[in-house]
């Protein structure tokens, strides 16, 4: 009996190791600080995780198909700067679709290079990280971008508004998550994404147009970046050129925390969402505990590495990798 229960626990740990670790973190932080689980704090965390979350949803598709996207951080800076600049020039109603089109064009370019030209995604998106950053600086002339009349526009709705008491960023995050989750789990396209990432050669042998699938994942990723850029611009109504810097790594951290494999073929939208929230709550918890801002970086990443290690160890059944 006891053995069976132990077995069940170890199976749960093996399958949901990260989730269990998450619950332990949560309890720990809650004991250290009674504000941690207060409703306004929880809502605050979800809300501030929205931008990262939206981006992570898109990159999830790229990662499942077996590729990487390191360009999303600088692409988000680009979207934010472009939409802020165009806001005053052509008005929000036109600025938003134009910004989306430009961001999708960048995603399409990456998809073309990785999918059709079969270039390594790490190299392409690392290159695009810098190239897009340069593009953004060229566009803005290196200056910060601000909306002149911050009070006289409906543009602030996306980042600051709320519907029936729920902040719009949360609605957008959850809405997009539902939509993309259905796309990934229920449609033929989603199945093809898993197949291409699981075994690209077998997918080709099964008549799946692999380049097209890869292109689509980058278009989805860049669409999500555009949404994130819109949220960012609308929340702050002004921005530096480097607003998205480093987010590409946090996005990957969230996806890995969720339990997707960087080798492709596994992962879900829901898992990514869990990963995003874990990351958000860790950072928030450290803040509430009173850790200095710079130290937080160190501790956050140590926790991420620890969590991933525990997860892998639980799957392997031991802490260190076997030699053979």
């Amino acid at each position: 009996m006891a053995d069976e229960r132990l077995n069940a626990i170890s199976r749960l740990l093996a399958r949901q190791g990260i989730l269990v670790a998450f619950v332990i973190f949560m309890i720990g932080f809650a004991l250290l600080n009674d504000r941690f689980l207060a409703v306004d704090n929880v809502l605050g965390v979800v809300r501030s995780s929205a931008i990262l979350g939206v981006m992570a949803l898109g990159v999830t598709f790229v990662v499942i198909s077996g590729n990487l996207d390191l360009s999303v951080g600088s692409m988000m800076s680009f979207s934010t700067i472009v939409v802020l600049d165009l806001h005053d020039k052509i008005g929000p109603g036109l600025a938003i679709p134009v910004m989306f089109a430009m961001t999708l064009a960048l995603g399409g370019l990456i998809g073309l290079l990785v999918g059709y030209f079969r270039l390594n995604s790490l190299i392409v998106t690392l290159g695009m990280l810098s190239a897009i950053h340069g593009l953004t600086l060229t566009y803005s002339g290196g200056k910060n971008m601000d909306i002149a009349d911050k009070a006289g526009t409906w543009f602030s709705f996306f980042g600051q508004g709320s519907v029936l008491g729920v902040p719009v960023p949360i609605i957008l995050l959850l809405g997009l998550a539902c939509l993309l989750s259905v796309l990934l789990a229920k449609t033929p396209f989603g199945r093809k994404v898993y197949a291409v990432g699981g075994n690209g050669v077998a997918a080709t042998f099964s008549g799946i147009r692999r380049p097209r699938v890869v292109l689509m994942t980058y278009l989805i990723s860049s669409f999500c970046v555009a949404v994130a850029g819109l949220l960012q611009a609308s929340r702050s109504m002004g921005s530096q050129n480097t607003v998205g810097q480093g987010l590409e790594l946090e996005v990957l951290a969230a996806i890995i925390l969720g339990g997707a494999s960087l080798l492709g073929g596994s992962g879900t939208v829901f898992k990514t969402l869990v990963g995003v929230l874990i990351l958000g709550f860790i950072q928030n918890g450290l803040l509430l505990v009173g850790l200095e801002f710079y130290v937080q970086y160190v501790v956050t990443w140590l926790i991420i590495i620890l969590a991933v290690w525990l997860d892998i160890a639980a799957k392997r059944g031991r802490l260190l990798s076997p030699i053979a």
């Binding site: 449609t187 033929p188 093809k192 197949a195 699981g198 075994n199 080709t204 042998f205 073929g265 596994s266």
Partner: protein, 505 residues
């Protein structure tokens, strides 16, 4: 022979894993200068026994003796130090490094300051390669070698230690016939030096060529040891699967329908040229030839994976252009590829999704994949092909080789093709599943499919084909009907020897 002290002796080895008794009191010995073949279906316990031998697993019960001394081997390194060397089926070489470095990896000769002593390294490696009659030098890069030569490097690595027992695990899986001859020479050489050789293989003919004794495992227990000279394939098969395998020549008169596929003058650069043949529906056409004769490349061209440089493909009398797998599938051509793990399956996906993968775009209800339609297809082919899996959610990677192959076949049958191409239908599959797959191929022809079978195993080609096309260096040498073909003429044809006037029109 029994007066000799065995080079290696296992007594009553028991190894259990959670829920499985993988080895159930297995005893096994190999004498110095003996080749002892180890046979068994997938899952019979061969690989577990091997891992026990190599120090990767610790037995729960039983003992291991080397030259009469009781030993324990806790790691592969300890096993090597005791003189037990394993030559893996899957090669584990550093592709970018030189042959010499690979041979002495982990024990590179050193100079002062820990620098590698290159002259000594090359000299020592060169001596071993010479002993093996290798045609490449110690400075060659491993990545540039053929698979057979890579295997030679593995063997050379084994010879750096004073091996008392060498275990070969399916060594010929990717070798050509000529390379096999070299390998067998090496094994005979080891034998002459008094090394005990354990030879694991699925291929009956090889076992009878090379071994002195044959031990058979089934369901984790030792079913018997036979002296090779006193037994035959039937007796061994009986021990392995509890019944005999039918590899008799195909004498069934095919019920030929119209010509389903006609290929005229198909060429593809240096790979093959001027290939013309017909396949009727209801007929199995076998392609036989050496590795590299161009058989797989023809299949890949018919499936749109290669672009032909000349020639035409006709389906049902109509010329078709096949530019991609997508258009091949649309035209009713299906390919069961030669390498099922790399080309045939997404191992991390479940059984159902693998079967429906080529048509998942059509199995929809509104914008969504229809679960019901998918499960119906899976159920149909699970029953039809007798795929053994607990349920459709099982990951394909967890199935046995035979069942995996049935999943690939099911996947392509579910596309209802006009022409089904099966490349190496039973590679790496145990004897029991092999005969099931042969029967299946015959059944498909009877149901009116036009089937092309590519195989490197002569008994298989003779067993399933109505006609046999013999290929040599990218050309069709001769076409045989099932009645006229003999093993001799077939071997001659694939070796490029054609008797005068024998070339078929």
């Amino acid at each position: 022979m029994s007066v000799q002290t065995p080079a290696l002796r296992l007594v009553g080895i028991v190894k259990t894993f959670p829920g499985v008794r993988a080895l159930d009191g297995v005893s096994f010995e190999v004498l110095p200068g003996e080749v002892h073949a180890l046979l068994g279906e997938n899952g019979a316990g061969k690989s577990t026994l091997m891992k026990v031998l190599a120090g990767m697993h610790q037995p729960d019960e039983g003992a291991i003796f080397i030259e009469g001394r009781k030993v324990t081997m806790r790691t592969p390194l300890e096993a090597k130090a005791q003189g037990v060397v394993l030559i893996h089926q899957e090669l584990s070489l550093a592709e970018e490094m030189s042959v010499a470095e690979n041979i002495y990896l982990g024990e590179l000769p050193r100079k002062r300051f820990g620098l590698v002593d290159r002259p000594t390294l090359l000299a020592k490696a060169g001596a071993i390669l010479e002993r093996l009659n290798c045609r490449f030098g110690p400075e060659a890069t491993v990545g540039d070698l053929s698979i057979a030569n890579k295997q030679m490097v593995e063997i050379a690595r084994a010879l750096t230690v004073d091996a008392k027992t060498v275990v070969f695990d399916e060594p010929t899986a990717s070798l050509t016939d000529a390379e096999k001859v070299v390998l067998f020479d090496i094994i005979r050489d080891l034998k002459a030096r008094g090394v005990g050789v354990v030879y694991i293989s699925h291929r009956m003919e090889e076992i009878f060529t090379i071994s002195d004794r044959i031990s058979v495992l089934r369901d984790g227990s030792h079913r018997g040891t036979l002296i090779t000279a006193d037994t035959d394939e039937d007796a061994v098969t009986q021990l392995m699967i509890g019944r005999s395998l039918d590899l008799s020549r195909n004498h069934e008169a095919p019920d030929l329908g119209p010509v389903a596929l006609e290929v005229r003058g198909l060429s593809c650069d240096a790979l093959f040229s001027d290939i013309s043949f017909k396949v009727h529906s209801g007929e199995v056409v076998g392609f036989y030839g050496l590795v590299g004769a161009g058989r797989t490349e023809i299949a890949e061209t018919l499936f749109g994976l290669r672009t032909p440089s000349a020639g035409a493909i006709h389906l049902d009398g109509r010329e078709v252009k096949i530019s991609s797998p997508v258009s091949a599938i649309e035209n009713g051509i299906s390919l069961v590829p030669e390498n099922r793990k790399e080309q045939g399956l997404v191992l991390g996906m479940n059984c159902r999704d693998n079967i429906t993968l080529p048509q998942v775009g059509d199995l929809t209800a509104g914008p969504f994949v229809s679960d019901g339609a998918e499960i119906a297809i899976f159920d149909h082919y699970r029953d039809k092909l007798e795929i053994k899996t607990p349920n459709w959610r099982q990951l394909v990677g967890n199935l046995s080789g035979g069942n995996q192959q049935k999943i690939v076949i099911g996947k392509w049958l579910s596309m209802r093709p006009k022409v089904l191409i099966v490349d190496e239908p039973t590679r790496g599959i145990d004897v029991g599943s092999k005969s099931e797959i042969h029967k299946l191929i015959r059944d498909l022809a009877r149901q009116g499919y036009a089937v092309i079978v590519i195989s490197s195993e002569m008994p298989e080609v003779l067993h399933v084909s109505d006609r046999i096309i013999a290929m040599y260096q990218g050309r069709i040498m001769r076409e045989f009907t099932a009645e006229e073909v003999t093993e001799d003429t077939l071997v001659q044809a694939i070796s490029g020897i054609v008797a005068n006037g024998d070339r078929a029109a």
